[in-house]
């Protein structure tokens, strides 16, 4: 497990390790060991305020994505092709790069390493993995798109822009792996040809499923 933790996974590694190899027994253990933190969002991990808060918000999402793809690479789903392995490994490395960038940029203002909860994902099953990947990537796109207007420093806005288009490239690829040609279908794009955007509250309501502790976004800017 030491090696896993060096790869940036915390407690999740062990749980998913068990979940992957242990079947139903592990699920029971997992359920007992992972009582969900149901406290209101204003008592969770505090993202902070202003641009720092938005960067921490992005850092949290990148932590989630990186942890997911690290797990995917460690426990590849059955029937994975060489091409899929290569693409998913690239995405893992991109998400680690994003996560580590925010951690370095935020320095002492960075939130803690987050513990993830992937008990709802079956990492041995292609559909489960790719549908989760699609959800994460589309969520990431809408999160960055919605956060742009909350940023006051133009340099940070550009940085968010540099990352969101890569997330969109991921989203399109994952969608095409699920169903070729669905890279920008009408479940992601509106009638004006626009991607969607979500507020931090909307994003965290979805992302919270995969986090052991809630995130406190109450100090983030709202406009």
């Amino acid at each position: 497990m030491e090696a896993l933790e060096e790869n940036g996974l915390k407690a999740v590694s062990r749980r998913n390790f068990l979940g992957y190899f242990g079947g139903a027994t592990a699920l029971l253990v997992t359920a007992a060991a992972c009582k969900k933190d149901d406290t209101p969002s204003n008592t969770g991990v505090n993202l902070g305020s202003g641009d720092t808060g938005i960067l921490n918000y992005a850092y949290a999402l990148e932590q989630l994505e990186a942890a997911f793809y690290i797990q995917v690479a460690m426990t590849p789903y059955s029937g994975i092709t060489a091409a899929e392995t290569s693409l998913l490994t690239d995405i893992r490395d991109h998400e680690i790069a994003h996560r580590e960038f925010f951690k370095a940029a935020l320095s002492t203002s960075a939130i803690q390493a987050l513990e993830v909860d992937f008990t709802s994902i079956n990492f041995s099953n292609r559909d489960s993995v790719l549908n989760t990947a699609k959800a994460f990537e589309d969520l990431g796109v809408t999160a960055y798109n919605g956060a742009g207007k909350l940023i006051t420093n133009p340099d940070y806005l550009t940085l968010a822009g540099k990352i969101v288009s890569v997330e969109a490239r991921h989203a399109a690829l994952i969608r095409d792996l699920i169903s070729n040609g669905s890279f920008a279908d009408n479940t992601a794009i509106d009638a004006n040809g626009l991607d969607l955007s979500r507020t931090p509250a909307q994003v965290l309501a979805i992302a919270g499923t995969y986090l052991k502790r809630a995130l406190n976004a109450s100090n983030l800017p709202t406009s």
């Binding site: 940029a105 742009g148 133009p154 550009t158 822009g161 288009s165 969607l196």
Partner: protein
């Protein structure tokens, strides 16, 4: 959407809203003039514009000018796909035709959306017709509408350039949250297009990924300007390669961040495509 209701709501938090709006007669006038033509989807942009003028935040001229720059790029893309999809024998499979038709429709929608947005801001949208474009770029891509691989290469260049162009303009839209968000929502769609076009080229045997590795286009020096700078592995002074002790190659570090282009760089890139 009831505009009066919105203003009434604002009055609750700012009792002087009517005075502010009233003393900006131009803002009201341009709003009233434009409102009849504003599609529902663009109404928030129009309201944003009206209040921006009333409250004197930022430069609406800069925002409208920036959107006209974006509109110009969307006209290029829209006309390119319109012609490609309509070129007999060019697109070999149904799946490819479906994908390119989807992209064409998005670019057309972007043209329409941006025209409405610019008008609602009190600006005048630029207009281009098919005859104003030369997608061979003066003969550089002579077989663009008869050779599928050339067509896809030009498509990839347009999409990747479009992503970089929008990214480079985001800062100019910060004074108007609704416009900024709309532009970001277009920006990520262009990236989705780029990802798919690159996979289409990959399927044709070209060594490209959905993301941009270094400054490699898989096309050649002729499009080098569209990829210059993408090889960057340092962001905000932070070296991404092996950051935090994790294995992050230079290739992955470059792929993980798309880079912006300036208006001048983009203009130089697209100028050969005008007849």
């Amino acid at each position: 959407m009831n505009v009066q209701n919105i203003i009434n709501q604002i009055e609750k938090v700012d009792p002087e809203v009517y005075e502010k709006l009233d003393t900006r007669r131009d803002a009201m006038k341009s709003f009233g003039k434009a409102s009849g033509r504003i599609a529902l989807a663009a109404l928030p942009l129009a309201l944003g514009s009206m209040f921006q003028k009333a409250y004197g935040q930022g430069s609406t001229t800069l925002v409208a000018d920036t959107l006209n720059f974006a509109l110009t790029l969307e006209y290029i893309e829209a006309n390119f796909y319109i012609k490609g999809v309509a070129s007999p024998g060019l697109i070999p499979t149904t799946a490819a035709m479906n994908a390119l038709t989807t992209i064409r429709d998005h670019e057309n929608a972007h043209v329409s959306f941006l025209r409405t947005a610019i008008t609602s801001l009190g600006g005048t949208p630029v207009t281009f017709t098919a005859a104003q474009f030369d997608f061979t770029a003066g003969g550089t891509f002579a077989d663009v509408f008869s050779n599928y691989d050339t067509f896809l290469a030009v498509a990839q260049t347009f999409e990747d350039t479009g992503v970089r162009a929008y990214k480079g303009q985001a800062g100019n839209l910060m004074s108007n949250n609704d416009v900024l968000t709309a532009a970001l929502n277009i920006h990520s769609v262009e990236a989705r297009h780029a990802s798919h076009i690159r996979q289409m080229r990959k399927a044709r045997g070209v060594d490209v990924k959905p993301w941009i590795t270094g400054n490699n286009s898989g096309i050649g020096a002729v499009v080098a300007a569209s990829y210059a700078g993408e090889e960057t592995t340092t962001q905000a002074g932070v070296n991404i390669v092996n950051l935090g002790g994790f294995t992050i190659s230079a290739a992955a570090a470059s792929e993980a961040f798309d880079e912006p282009l300036t208006k001048e760089q983009v203009t130089a890139i697209v100028t050969p495509f005008f007849a």
